[in-house]
């Protein structure tokens, strides 16, 4: 009896989860998890130093211990791809985290307070929209010197308006809902309502959008690195590798550019698919399955 009902429950749960993301969404999530794991355990997989250059191996073919061969400076391609995965994943992660934090704070404040503050914030966001993120990142790099931090900060700022606009409109709609008013009448403070109710209830939208923005950030950061303004040599990064491999392409050794570019494309597609699936996800009765309610003490 118990076994049967447990199986039924598990079966239902499993279908529900797959139904939400779909096979493609699950595959995309799998690719992302794989990339994160590979980036994390990279040094265990390959012993080669990603920055050790041996010019005698320039554009060398795959060999024992070097399954992907060498780049133009005789550095091991596999270890460079794996190390590059770290900056290529952490960079966008920082961009999304920073811009989300700032964008959500700005948007919620504007939507809650309304009036002139909302008008001012909206006007400032409009101005920021006019500035392409990549251009801003290059400008910052030109002023403060190239590097990953400058690029990440600049792109984070450039992404704020996109996030703020989305969250603001969602928050405006949510704020008008009766339960928010009911909380106000109960004497809850604005901060407490926003932190405990408004933002958590917007999280599904925010999470879906964050996934999409992650892929945009990845491409933008790769562009900045491609132009040599992001991660600085000799450190590895996929965008830098695509750029650095250019001369190899001309000489008939496209492996470096192709591999790094391929990694970017695969991950961007995966993040796009996942983001799309998440935003299409039907609202479920319990949007937060990980939120366990604690058992109640003796009644």
């Amino acid at each position: 009896m118990t076994v049967v009902s447990a199986t039924l429950r598990a079966g239902r749960g499993g279908r529900g989860e797959r139904g939400r993301l779909g096979a493609l969404g699950m595959a995309a999530a799998g690719v992302i998890v794989l990339a994160v794991v590979l980036a994390a355990v990279g040094p265990i997989l390959t012993t080669a130093d990603p920055n050790a250059s041996d010019i005698t191996h320039a554009y060398g073919a795959p060999a024992a211990g070097h399954p992907l061969g060498f780049d133009g400076q005789g550095r091991d391609l596999l270890s460079r791809l794996l190390t590059g995965a770290r900056t290529s994943l952490l960079g966008p992660l920082w961009i999304v985290t920073l811009s989300m934090a700032a964008g959500i704070a700005v948007a919620i404040t504007a939507a809650w307070v309304g009036g002139w503050l909302d008008s001012v914030v909206s006007a400032v966001l409009e101005v920021m929209f006019a500035f392409p993120g990549v251009l801003l990142a290059m400008l910052v790099a030109a002023v403060f010197g190239p590097g990953l931090n400058a690029a990440v900060l600049a792109l984070a700022v450039a992404y704020i308006p996109y996030i703020a606009r989305l969250v603001r409109s969602a928050a405006l709609a949510e704020r008008r809902k009766p339960y928010i008013q009911a909380l106000e009448v109960q004497g809850a403070s604005a901060l407490s309502i926003c932190v405990r109710h408004l933002v958590p209830n917007l999280l599904p939208i925010i999470a879906a959008q964050a996934t999409l923005f992650f892929s945009y950030a990845m491409v933008d950061l790769a562009i900045v690195s491609f132009f040599g303004l992001g991660v600085q040599p000799p450190d590895a990064d996929w965008g830098t590798m695509v750029g650095g491999g250019q001369s190899g392409v001309l000489q008939g050794y496209p492996a470096e550019s192709l591999l790094a570019g391929g990694c970017i494309v695969v991950l961007v597609v995966a993040f796009n698919l996942l983001g799309e699936r998440l935003s299409e996800g039907r609202p479920t009765s319990r949007p937060w399955p990980w939120r366990r309610t604690r058992a109640v003490g003796a009644a």
């Binding site: 009448v185 109960q186 109640v296």
Partner: protein, 325 residues
């Protein structure tokens, strides 16, 4: 007479694109401690707006004149923490409980949040109190209910939860905005009985908004009748019900169906209900009133004491004499 709540000459004007429109004018009403006052009237007569004014839940840009005093303090001057204090102490029961409870949080979260944040009560203790109050509103298996989500409860149960939440605030005054309108007729009676009993037990004052004259008469000590943003008549519920002074109240009581009377058609009031901003210069009811005189169209009657209550009609004495004579 000084009550727990004193509303005097409350006028609320809402901004609209073309011109500010009044929604309440010269509303005066007082509630004594432990007294239930009913507020009846047609849709758009300003019942809810009156209740919302008390906790200052008005649309942005609303202009408020007159005074609302709760336990002697002028509500209009409250800001920030003091306003939150007032709101926490004057809870409101809404018409549609499902829309007024965060759908993705548990009943337990809903009931204990205010206690834990405002009252700084521990989670265990807050939950025990919630279970006890749920018991009082007739929900026996409170421990299980706390872990459920709003969509798992029926409308009637959810309204009981809402009532429980207001009791947890340990209020002296309760605002009930058509608490049973959205419920099944059978559930209405149960929920109303629970609310009425708990109110009497605890000696709570209540402002009870309803469309239902009979219900107001059954539950409330006094009843105020509103029309077009104005109070037409305030009297002891039984008196208002049996012997209305204002022609509008009389028309309302005549219009309700009765078990004792056979009628092919129910009596109606000719015309349509007016909003406060469309009100004519004179008496707001003059265009639909069967007893209208020339004076009614030019002079606006004030709410004035008469027999055991207050009435806003120029011809009240005349009409009373005529009906009794």
């Amino acid at each position: 007479m000084s009550g727990i709540l004193e509303i005097s000459r409350l006028t609320v004007t809402l901004p609209t694109p073309d011109r500010p429109k009044p929604v309440l004018s010269d509303v005066s009403l007082s509630i004594a401690e432990g007294q239930a006052v009913g507020l009846v009237g047609e849709s758009g007569s300003g019942k809810s707006m009156t209740a919302r004014s008390i906790v200052r839940l008005l649309p942005p840009g609303a202009r408020v004149e007159g005074a609302i005093r709760y336990q002697g303090t002028d509500v209009g001057g409250l800001r920030g923490a003091a306003l939150r204090e007032l709101r926490a102490g004057v809870p409101m029961i809404f018409q549609d409980p499902r829309a007024h409870i965060n759908p993705v949080r548990t009943i337990g979260d809903f009931l204990t949040e205010a206690l834990r944040i405002r009252g700084r009560v521990g989670r265990r203790q807050a939950e025990q109190r919630a279970v006890r109050v749920l018991g009082e509103v007739g929900i026996a298996d409170g421990g299980r209910r706390l872990r459920q989500y709003p969509h798992e409860l029926s409308g009637g149960l959810l309204q009981r939860v809402m009532i429980a939440a207001t009791l947890l605030a340990e209020p002296k005054l309760l605002l009930a905005d058509e608490p049973t309108t959205a419920l099944d007729v059978t559930t209405q009676a149960e929920v109303m009985a629970v609310l009425d009993e708990l109110r009497r037990e605890r000696g709570l004052a209540m402002l009870f908004i309803t469309h239902d004259l009979e219900l107001a008469a059954a539950v409330c000590d006094r009843t105020a009748v509103m029309y077009a943003g104005r109070v037409m008549e305030v009297r002891a519920s039984a008196a208002l019900h049996d012997d209305p002074l204002h022609p509008y109240t009389a028309a309302l009581t005549a219009a309700r169906p009765s078990l004792e009377r056979r009628a092919d058609r129910l009596a109606t009031i000719p015309g349509r209900p007016l909003s406060a901003f469309e009100a004519p210069d004179g008496c707001v009811f003059c265009e639909r009133c069967p007893h209208v005189r020339e004076g009614c169209r030019t002079r606006r009657p004030e709410l004035r004491p008469m027999s055991d209550g207050e009435v806003a009609c120029l011809r009240a004495e005349e009409l009373q004499a005529a009906s009794h004579g």
